[in-house]
């Protein structure tokens, strides 16, 4: 059983200040997180590994090869890490990324399961998993709160409104995991140190693949084009409601009634 987990990095929102009046985003502290959904997806993969054994491979394509994202994955317990280098992939849209990842799965000699976060924290996009499933021609489960392997099939729990629904599909498959689905484990202390020192087999665990070796980059045409950033209009200030509790409640109720669409 081989599980591929895609790890993307996102700017830590705690280090950002959005200034609505100046319509600017200030980066006070440039720190990166593993995209929380990907982090939970890695936890799901490691639980499958703990339960019945699996090889967990993490893959990332961030701007710098020395990025912490893959190291964090290895420190948590991933067996191998693949760094995808080469122009374009790091800022690629999900359509391009899906093509590159399909080629990665093929170069790897196949995988039984690909896990990835459902929705990106920064852009809010949720297309990578479904597009990758489409490219590979595999079944997909979107938004799995837990993932189990039983009898060569995958069984996941999804949320449907207030209900939980169990869904199953055959392997290989692509499964996307919401950010809050699983609490990621802490890294293993000794592994963390070894990852950074390249000791204990950790140097050999990291592979670097150039996208150009996997496929013809000319064929990668993005579907999206970034044309700039803008801010939503500033919110109007609220109204202060005076008077007794009854009067205030009445005023709030009327205001809400007035806003109700239709």
């Amino acid at each position: 059983m081989r599980i591929l987990v895609i790890l993307r990095r996102v700017l830590d929102p705690a280090g950002l200040v959005a200034h609505a009046r100046l319509r600017r985003l200030f980066i006070n502290r440039e720190e990166y997180l593993i995209e929380p959904g990907d982090h939970a997806a890695l936890e799901a993969a490691l639980r499958i590994k703990d339960g019945g054994g699996a090889e967990v491979v993490v893959v990332s394509g961030q701007p710098e090869p020395d990025d912490d994202t893959l190291r964090r994955g290895l420190a948590m317990g991933a067996d191998r890490a693949i760094y995808l280098s080469g122009a374009g992939f790091a800022d690629a849209d999900d359509g391009v990324a899906a093509e590159v990842l399909k080629a990665t799965v093929e170069r790897l000699g196949g995988a039984d399961l690909v896990l990835v976060g459902m929705t990106r924290l920064d852009t809010g996009q949720a297309q990578l998993g479904p597009r990758l499933a489409g490219a590979l021609g595999w079944p997909q489960i979107v938004g799995a709160w837990s993932v189990e392997i039983a009898d060569g099939r995958i069984r996941a729990v999804r949320r449907d409104g207030d209900d939980y629904v169990i869904v199953e599909t055959d392997l290989p498959a692509v499964v996307t995991v919401p950010a809050k689905a699983l609490e990621p484990r802490y890294p293993d202390g000794a592994r963390l140190i070894n990852v950074y020192r390249g000791e204990g087999g950790m140097a050999e665990a990291v592979l670097q693949w150039d996208v150009a070796d996997l496929m013809d980059p000319e064929g990668l045409v993005p579907l999206l084009e970034g044309r700039g950033r803008d801010f939503p209009p500033e919110r109007e200030r609220g109204v202060r409601v005076e008077g007794s509790i009854e009067e205030a409640a009445q005023a709030v109720a009327e205001a809400l009634r007035g806003r109700r669409p239709g």
Partner: protein, 388 residues
């Protein structure tokens, strides 16, 4: 010169901070109020490997060195002095004594489970008549065949109430005293003759166990002699050097937290129509403290680097402890003043930090003893021997 933290150190700090924010910060007030040792947190720290942060990987540690250990203590000290104290007594002195002078067998048998947090350690030095005058101990160990029989007791032993393994020193040759007549032993708390007599009710660090231990014909196998017979005092002083440095690191975290709270409050609180941050009286307090915190940070991590690179550091460790504890005390005092009534209220963490900070000027050698250590090193270079 390069004063930047390595990527490894940054990654370790990120890991520790995530742990501390999630596991320690939410219980810090509660363990203080309930006078409870957070054993669950200690076990979790062990599971992540952090209780072996500075010990070699072959003995269950992480191998992150003294810089790594200082990072752990700084981050713990920022949020919970009690937890920092439990961890410091466990790693920094209890297990450290085995790390500095233990045999291969002792390290495999005792250090490894301590590094993994499967067992907890304490350090038995202080006695009722041997506080600052540590050489004046009277706990006695007498050889009986392949065993030593220990009688006596220890007081103010951090982790004493729950430790599985205690490193202690006892007099083995009263004629020789501290120079050749004191031996260190590793004992297990479930051996017959080991008793926890009572727990102290303390002003601060109330989430710790500070116990009085009594040894009544406690039989210790000879293989549990730590270091050489007669040289226990040397072993213990070596462990204390490490403990003092990392206590300074915990104080750095405490002082930084007090500074952070004060800056945040000075931004939000308004009096006489402007923020506190606009008042020069407050600005000067903040500026002075920020300067001291930076000086302490430089000292702590420079000495940690000296340890990791094998340089002598005894008096510098004493300076870390002395300066760190005084900066931390000034920091919490200032934080109370800036917060006014809020700082005095039990509803805010500043009141707890104020009570917790005081102990650092006392334990692991009072600040008076640190001054003696520093002064005696200085005068020794000038041919003057000073006696305490």
């Amino acid at each position: 010169m390069d004063f930047t933290f390595s990527r490894e150190a940054k990654a370790l700090r990120r890991m520790v901070r995530a742990f501390v924010e999630k596991e320690v910060a939410p219980i810090a007030a509660e363990i203080d109020r309930e006078h409870r040792v957070p054993l669950g947190v200690m076990r979790k720290l062990g599971k992540t490997g952090l209780l072996g942060v500075c010990f070699p990987q072959e003995y269950g540690g992480m191998g992150a060195g003294e810089v790594g250990y200082c990072i752990l203590m700084e981050e713990l000290g920022r949020v919970c002095t009690s937890t920092a104290t439990n961890v410091g007594a466990h790693i920094g002195i209890g297990a450290m004594a085995i790390h500095v002078d233990g045999t291969e067998e002792q390290k495999l048998r005792y250090l490894a489970p301590l590094a993994r947090g499967e067992q907890f350690a304490a350090f038995g030095l202080t006695e009722s008549n041997a506080g600052s005058d540590a050489a004046n101990i009277s706990t006695r160990a007498v050889r009986d065949g392949d065993e030593w029989v220990v009688n006596g007791g220890k007081v103010y032993i951090t982790n004493g109430g729950y430790a599985d393994v205690v490193t202690l020193i006892a007099v083995t040759d009263p004629a020789l005293g501290a120079r050749g007549g004191v031996t260190a032993f590793i004992v297990e708390s479930d051996w017959p003759g080991f008793e926890v007599a009572r727990e102290e009710d303390k002003m601060g660090i109330r989430g710790t166990s500070t116990a009085e231990l009594v040894f009544d014909d406690l039989r210790v196998p000879h293989e549990n002699v730590l270091g050489k017979v007669g040289e226990g005092f040397v072993t213990f002083m070596k462990a204390l050097d490490m403990g003092r440095l990392t206590l300074g690191a915990a104080c750095l975290g405490g002082a930084q937290a007090a500074l952070d709270w004060s800056v945040a409050w000075a931004r939000t609180r308004e009096q006489f129509g402007t923020q506190l941050a606009q008042k020069q009286s407050i600005q000067w307090m903040i500026a002075d403290l920020a300067t001291e915190v930076e000086a302490l940070r430089s000292l702590v991590y420079r000495v940690a680097w000296m340890v990791d690179t094998g340089q002598p550091f005894t008096e510098l460790a004493a300076m870390c402890k002395l300066y760190g504890s005084e900066v931390a005390s000034r920091a919490v005092d200032m934080a109370v003043q800036i917060h006014g009534g809020l700082g005095y209220s039990r509803d805010y963490p500043i009141e707890r930090a104020f009570r917790d900070a005081r102990i650092a000027e006392i334990f692991e050698g009072t600040n008076e003893i640190q001054r003696i250590v520093i002064a005696s090193r200085i005068f020794r270079e000038h041919g003057v021997r000073i006696s305490p």
